[in-house]
């Protein structure tokens, strides 16, 4: 399976590693960094409002943010070839842990997601968020692109196994996200349009099959409620109805910071976590949401730019997948909050209150920064 490209990469890696430890250069992508800091600040501001001006939550979130930024900057210092080197192993560990969780996992909120390692609880699915795109990028980067059919099949299998395992926990949101991140790698790798079209055509009967056989009752309810929230205004439709009221009542200019009634009077459930975008829209209106979307879009564009600038196929595929996954996050969360997607329980990146997924996300940005900054060194 050896080929020329692989050897070149290996050589470069050795070359680079020699440089990094001798260099005092700090690896950071300033545009991305500042955009992320700005986003975090917006997140803290709206959390201050949605939590009912609870400084305790702010401090906790600040600590998480600090940890996540630290992790990001740490990863950014590691050259991409090392990351690439660890890809298969992290995927294998993640897969084993996922199987482990299936049998020995802690149950929380009706789902088996957690692994209690004694000193801290850990979600293997978080690891998989990075491990799957890493693995697929690692696998495809060594093959000729666009990928041959059998490579597509093998990649698909590597995507589906963790996806199914996570969906079984059940954690539909994360499963979708991981599935998407793998597929994004395939798309960037040049998956043929014929396959893409056939999958889209096949999706309809597949969706029926998933609905019929693979979905839990609560997941089906979510979809049904999504299709018609008013059906069950006090039950599962309540989230969507209240969130639409919050957003719609915000209008163009919003009710003003700390003045959102829907969240402060507890009409809006999960107002600090999955539905925080509704609070933001209520208080800052359309102008605020356009600003927030622009910020997200800027980060995504920057990520795509970094991907196109990368000189190794692995780096490109990984960067493209990570940034598209980030957008997927944003789109699914906002889409569910504004009522055009079912409620799947994904947080709004860097805005929603909560820790685990934020760290994973920032690790992804760390990888992006690593790809960007190490490329520059290399090109000199």
């Amino acid at each position: 399976m050896l080929n020329k490209q692989y050897d070149v990469a290996k050589m470069n890696a050795q070359h680079e590693s020699g440089r990094i430890f001798s260099s005092r250069r700090f690896h950071i992508d300033a545009p991305l960094f500042y955009a992320l800091v700005l986003l975090s600040l917006v997140g803290l501001a709206i959390l201050y409002s949605s939590s009912g001006q609870d400084m305790d939550s702010i401090v906790k979130q600040l600590v998480r943010l600090a940890a996540a930024f630290f992790a990001m900057l740490l990863i950014a210092q590691i050259p991409p070839h090392l990351i690439r080197y660890w890809a298969p192993l992290s995927f294998a560990i993640g897969l084993i842990l996922l199987i482990f969780v299936l049998f020995f996992g802690e149950t929380g909120k009706g789902a088996q997601r957690w692994l209690d390692l004694g000193f801290f609880r850990f979600q293997p699915s978080e690891l998989m968020k990075l491990a799957v795109p890493l693995m697929i990028a690692w696998y495809l980067a060594d093959r000729t692109l666009p990928p041959q059919f059998k490579h597509v099949i093998i990649s698909t299998l590597m995507i589906l196994i963790p996806t199914v395992l996570i969906a079984k926990q059940p954690d539909l949101g994360t499963a979708l996200l991981i599935c998407a991140s793998g597929i994004f790698v395939l798309l960037f790798a040049g998956l043929s349009w014929r396959i893409i079209c056939s999958v889209v055509v096949l999706a309809v009967p597949l969706a029926w099959a998933v609905w019929r056989f693979a979905m839990h009752e609560y997941q089906r309810n979510r979809v049904l409620t999504f299709l018609n929230p008013e059906n069950d205004p006090l039950g599962s439709g309540y989230h969507i109805i209240q969130s639409k009221i919050a957003i719609g009542s915000g209008g163009i200019y919003g009710k003003g910071w700390l003045n959102g009634t829907q969240s402060h009077l507890e009409f809006l459930p999960e107002s600090s976590t999955d539905f925080i975008f509704a609070v933001f829209s209520e208080e800052f209106g359309l102008i605020g949401t356009l600003f927030l979307l622009s910020l997200y879009l800027y980060i995504v564009y920057r990520g795509i730019y970094i991907a196109t600038q990368a000189q190794h196929t692995f780096d490109r595929l990984l960067a493209g997948s990570l940034i598209l996954t980030f957008f997927f996050y944003v789109f699914v969360n906002i889409g569910m909050v504004i009522g055009i997607l079912p409620v799947v329980g994904l947080p709004l990146p860097l805005i929603s209150y909560g820790g685990t997924s934020m760290v994973t996300l920032m690790l992804g940005f760390g990888i992006l920064m690593s790809i960007q900054t190490h490329r520059k060194l290399l090109s000199k």
Partner: protein, 620 residues
């Protein structure tokens, strides 16, 4: 793997990736615009809709019921008030152990299973932090007992609510009426917003007739609530406007005296001021306590009232329909004079009976032996039936109907109380319509002495007597003198209404009849001469005895042998002082026997109290 070895082409791969990156950028932008489109839809096009929903979410409108207006008598005696009634209410979320607390409380004050069942039923409908009533109508002793043990019952509290109360109890029930809980039918016709906080409504009497004035205007409190319904703050508030206070024409002292004068008898009294129609007393016995109905009467008590043969719930003064008996005679005499069918001094012979030509039927006089030679004056004073048989035959039913109609018989008086009956003044037309029969002359005869089809209410008799006292000035009886608005502290007097004057061809005829009525009381052989003694004022009156029980021909009416409830009703109408009347009165004692024996003394007591007290007051 060696069959198809393809060389990796970095430049081609980069181009491929860039193509895909552009594709991704297009997709990302497209999807972002989907989000923006949806946000514009929600935040601009449907902004108003969602704004309204958001407002409705957070703002609850709490009605503040107005305080019901008070009712006073003409002298300022309080007749209807609002008293705090104590009950125990529980806030379930503050009670650590509800079951034990309820059990312990039951050992201190009386709590029945019904109370507990209702409590649990109400609790399910309410939020955990809202107060749920457990017991109503605590006695003072129970309130004290609970207060002492208050610390043992966290979440339990004594709550006072304003409840309508009638301090004179039974005495005022047939005038004031009472309030009761709003029922389903009333709910349908009520102004639901004005009554949104009101639990009680006037059911009968003044309370019903003046419901609008007494009720007042509801206030509202806009409160901000959270999703669980807890009130966070008051946004704005409009205070309720209390109901207006009523000052009645009733004299509470007179009312009570009249009630006592009737004693154990069933009957009715209406006393009014003939000059302006002010009802001074309006009594119907037996009575009952209106306070029972305010809190919701229990079934047994209500059943007892409902099924009592004495019919205490029945307002005899307004709705009781009695044959007027001989009290109709002054009016008949006036009709005879007015239509020139009788001369003042013309005498006829009364043998004790009267019969129509060609008919063997004997129309009896109450005095079996007859009155001998009688003129109009003597016929009224001694209540000779034979003269009036003769007179009514001469007048004919049509003239009788027309003339008596002018005194308000057969029509409602228009008093400001609900439920008044028009009673019945018969005519040919009426008989044709109702019975589909022609009018017989015999019926004219008995109509002439107030028997037969003729029915009157005590109120009608009082109003008609007032017309005699007024020499033709008609009055509209009224219960409310003035209305006091507590908000502006202004009193609006209600001007008395006179529906007109009955002009006689010869106004002196009034005096002739009044003189005869004075002779009823003060004449040597007047039927009510017993009450005419030792009066410092002159009374004009007329007794009446209305048959309840038909006596067959050649049968004696022996009072002792007739069952109590088949005895004649005793009636008496009067006004005094005869020269300048200040009070007109009608008294009916059911099965009282004769008017002179039972009804007239009642009237005397009332007139004494009113006229003598009034004179005393004037003297001061």
């Amino acid at each position: 793997m060696a069959q198809r070895f393809t060389l990796k082409d970095p430049f081609r791969e980069m181009q491929l990736f860039n193509n895909r990156a552009v594709f991704a950028l297009v997709l990302i932008t497209l999807f972002t615009f989907i989000l923006i489109g949806r946000l514009v839809y929600l935040q601009i096009f449907y902004h108003e809709h969602f704004s309204t929903l958001s407002h409705e979410n957070r703002v609850n409108i709490v009605p503040l019921p107005p305080t019901r207006g008070l009712i006073y008598d003409r002298n300022g005696v309080l007749l209807a008030q609002n008293l705090p009634a104590f009950g125990i209410e529980v806030i379930p979320e503050q009670v650590p152990d509800l079951a034990t607390s309820l059990k312990t409380l039951a050992s201190i004050i009386r709590i029945e299973q019904d109370d507990i069942d209702r409590f649990h039923r109400l609790r399910k409908q309410k939020k955990a932090f809202s107060s749920v009533p457990l017991r109503f109508r605590l006695s003072d002793e129970e309130v004290a007992l609970f207060a002492v043990n208050r610390h043992r019952f966290p979440g339990f509290d004594v709550v006072a609510r304003l409840m309508r109360n009638y301090p004179l109890k039974n005495t005022t029930v047939h005038t004031l009426g009472f309030v009761g809980r709003i029922n389903v039918n009333e709910m349908r016709t009520l102004d639901s917003s004005n009554y949104s906080g009101t639990t009680h409504i006037g059911k009968i009497g003044i309370e019903k007739a003046y419901e609008e004035a007494l009720h007042g205007t509801v206030g509202v409190k806009h409160v901000e609530v959270n999703a669980t319904g807890r009130v966070l703050r008051i946004l704005k508030q409009r205070h309720p406007q209390p109901g207006k206070n009523l000052i009645l024409t009733i004299d509470a002292e007179l009312q009570r005296a009249a009630e006592q004068a009737l004693g154990e008898n069933r009957g009715a009294i209406v006393a009014l001021n003939p000059n302006n129609g002010d009802i001074l007393a309006l009594v119907s016995t037996p009575t009952y306590d209106p306070n029972l109905f305010v809190m919701g009467i229990d079934k047994t008590t209500y059943g007892a009232l409902q099924n009592s043969p004495d019919r205490p719930l029945f307002n005899r003064a307004l709705r009781g329909q009695y044959p007027p008996g001989s009290t109709i005679k002054p009016f008949m005499g006036l009709a005879g004079l007015e239509y020139n069918k009788i001369e003042v001094n013309k005498k006829i012979f009364c043998p004790g009976w009267f019969s129509l030509r060609g008919d063997a039927h004997k129309y009896r006089d109450w005095k079996k032996t007859g009155h001998g030679q009688v003129n109009l004056n003597k016929a009224i004073a001694e209540s000779c039936d034979v003269l009036f048989y003769d007179l009514s035959l001469t007048l004919g039913i049509d003239l009788i109907h027309t003339f008596l109609g002018q005194f308000g018989f057969g029509k409602t008086t228009g008093i400001d109380l609900t439920g008044e009956q028009p009673a019945l003044l018969p005519s040919r037309k009426w008989k044709k319509r109702v019975k589909n029969q022609i009018w017989y002359p015999g019926e004219t005869l008995i109509a002439g002495i107030g028997q037969g089809y003729t029915l009157t209410t005590p109120l009608q008799l009082a109003v008609a007597s007032a017309m005699l006292a007024n020499k033709g000035k008609k009055i509209k009886p009224r219960m409310v003198k003035s209305i006091h608005d507590p908000k502006t502290n202004t009193t609006t007097h209600i001007a008395p209404v006179s529906p007109g004057i009955l002009h006689l061809e010869n106004p002196n005829n009034w005096n002739i009849i009044t003189a005869a009525m004075i002779d009823v009381v003060h004449g040597k052989r007047g039927t009510a001469r017993k009450i005419g003694k030792n009066t410092p004022y002159i009374i004009a009156g007329k007794t009446g005895t209305a048959q309840v029980f038909g006596i067959k021909q050649d049968e004696e009416y022996i009072e002792e042998e007739v069952a109590l409830r088949l005895r004649d009703h005793a009636l008496f109408i009067a006004f005094a002082p005869a020269d300048a009347p200040e009070i007109a009165i009608s008294v009916i004692v059911e099965n009282g026997g004769s008017g002179s024996e039972t009804a007239a003394p009642v009237a005397r007591k009332i007139m004494d109290l009113y006229l003598l007290k009034k004179n005393k007051n004037n003297a001061k």
